[in-house]
Amino acid sequence: MQELRELYQETILEHSRKPRNYGELPSANHKAEGFNPLCGDHYTVFLNVKDGAITEITFHGAGCAISKASASMMTQSLKGKSAQEAEALFGQFHDLVTGNGGQPEKLGKLAVFAGVSEFPLRVKCATLAWHAMRAALHGDQDAVSTE
């Protein structure tokens, strides 16, 4: 039960119920889809990048509580960040959810996802929107898949 509470923290449940920056962004100059064929989670991440910085970021789609909360909190964390900072933050986040240490203090609110590391099968859920964000930044047109 303790591990479950670590995974499904109140912040995570709250974001999954009321995701922030949720919706399509017609003016986006970058976008990419993320798809987890295992469970059908499917998100599109929309970005506006100007002078190397993310000025706007939204997401749209459906999935489990972990993937949706992660997408929601990612959009909050990345607004105003440069592409390099976004990459670096993804690296930190990835280390956190896979249990490879990292520096939670650099992750701010995203540190609530530490509990995911006890559930290896859910790492893909937690990182799905991040993979899509990165594909969008790199301009990949194809949907990214976690498989």
Binding site: L4, L7, C39, A62, C64, I66, R122
Partner: protein, 421 residues
């Protein structure tokens, strides 16, 4: 139903014909804890656990009989061949095929369907022709036909289902036309539990001279199957879904159809003679069994069939029906839970969704309670599209599941609601 069992010359006691608590002792894997809780294995539609008899058959083969089959003159080869062919006879009896030559050993249902698509299908399906399936098929009974249709310029037609997950037979019959070259339909839906009226479907198709392939993967462990009574032309089976090993299954095909089909793969064992000018193919069933087969697992499949015969599928069917009824009642009592797949004729499978809770989260929380269910699209994405849901949670029952395990499932689902608030 009860049987009088004499346990000793002086003692006679009455035992139920099917005692699930005794049966559970045959499955070593069931007696473990997961996350500190007793394992409740409810993922039987994905694969079933193996009784000791099946595990022993594999060990016994490798310890005492391991040898290549069919051409050896030595004792080990003779024993291995005999055990391998004994399974063919057991499989023939198990589904009441007319002839053991009609049983082709393959890796499983997927390979069996691919074989028919690539041999019978490639020979008989041409440009503008049609292959008819249903909306509730597993991907393994869709994709091989799509590949064939793409290659030939043929069209895949899909029989629709109603809200309960039942095939709309009238609509299905309308889709059967002069262009239909083969019908491929599941006996028991892995995502919904629906049992299709195979005899009726075969009757409709045969009235138009269209052969029918039945995906029997989920049906054979759950009910007695008689292919002669069904009159289907092909019937595909996976060993691992009927308490046997993975990597082995079989295809039943009517002998006259199999005789007329080209071979699937070339190699050893499937030939009668080879020269660089001409190769003569072997007779049935060997024409379709190229290369050294999966001997150990075939023999162990024989042990699984024998095990099911001893328990009697009629008893298993009755046991699982009672369990499914009980589980459906228990789960439907919980507010916010909806069962997906409510066909009149149904077995083995309880798919459900919960309001505002994604199946993946359900799966993780149930796992923390030691309960193994499957969450996702169950390799039946068109079924999910039909219901406009991304996924379901699925509890699927086996012969060793108990009412107490259903109670654990119901408690687990209440826990999901508690955790997810």
């Amino acid at each position: 139903m009860s049987t009088v069992v004499k346990t000793s010359p002086h003692e006679t006691r009455t035992m139920p014909a099917f005692d699930v608590y005794r049966v559970r002792k045959d499955f070593p894997i069931l007696h473990q804890t997961v996350h500190g809780k007793p394992l409740v294995y409810l993922d039987n539609a994905a694969t079933t656990q193996k009784p000791q008899a099946v595990i022993d058959a594999i060990t016994h083969y490798y310890r005492t009989d391991n040898s290549n089959i069919h051409r050896g003159v030595h004792v080990l080869s003779e024993r291995a061949t005999e055990a391998y062919e004994k399974t063919r006879l057991a499989a023939q009896k198990f589904i009441n095929a007319a002839d053991s030559r009609e049983i082709i050993f393959l890796r499983g249902t997927t390979e069996a369907i691919n074989l028919v698509a690539q041999t019978y299908g490639r020979k008989h399906v041409g440009a503008g022709d049609e292959v008819l399936v249903t909306n509730m098929e597993h991907h393994s009974n869709i994709v091989p036909w799509q590949m064939l249709c793409e290659e030939k310029g043929a069209k895949l037609r899909v029989g629709p289902i109603n809200e309960h997950g039942e095939l709309l037979l009238d609509e299905f019959e309308k889709l059967l036309g002069p262009k239909t070259k083969i019908v491929a339909v599941g006996h028991l839906s892995n995502a919904l539990g629906t049992i299709n009226p195979i005899k009726q479907i075969v009757g409709m198709a045969h009235a138009r001279n269209v052969p029918v392939l039945v995906d029997g993967a989920q049906a054979v462990p759950r009910m007695p199957v008689d292919v002669q009574d069904l009159d289907c032309d092909f019937y595909a089976v996976s060993g691992h879904k009927m308490y046997g090993p993975t990597g082995i299954g079989f295809l039943y095909g009517k002998a006259e159809l199999l005789e007329a089909m080209p071979p699937y793969q070339g190699g050893g064992d499937m030939i009668a003679s080879v020269t660089f000018d001409k190769t003569v193919y072997n007779r049935l069933p060997y024409k379709f069994e190229a290369g050294t087969p999966n001997i150990a697992d075939t023999i162990a499949l024989g042990a699984a069939i024998e095990y099911l015969n001893q328990l009697d599928l009629k008893n298993i069917e009755k046991h699982e029906a009672a369990l499914l009824d009980y589980a459906t009642g228990q789960v439907q009592e919980i507010s916010g839970v909806s069962v997906v797949g409510t066909a009149q004729e149904k077995a083995g499978v309880l798919s459900f969704v919960m309001d505002d809770i994604h199946p993946h989260d359900i799966g993780t929380i149930l796992d923390s309670e030691g309960i193994a269910v499957r969450t996702g699209h169950h390799c039946a994405q068109p079924v999910m599209q039909r219901y406009q849901i991304p996924a379901t949670a699925r509890a699927s029952f086996g012969l060793y599941n108990t009412r107490e395990e259903v109670d654990a499932l119901a408690r687990g689902i209440r826990k999901v609601k508690e955790v997810m608030g």
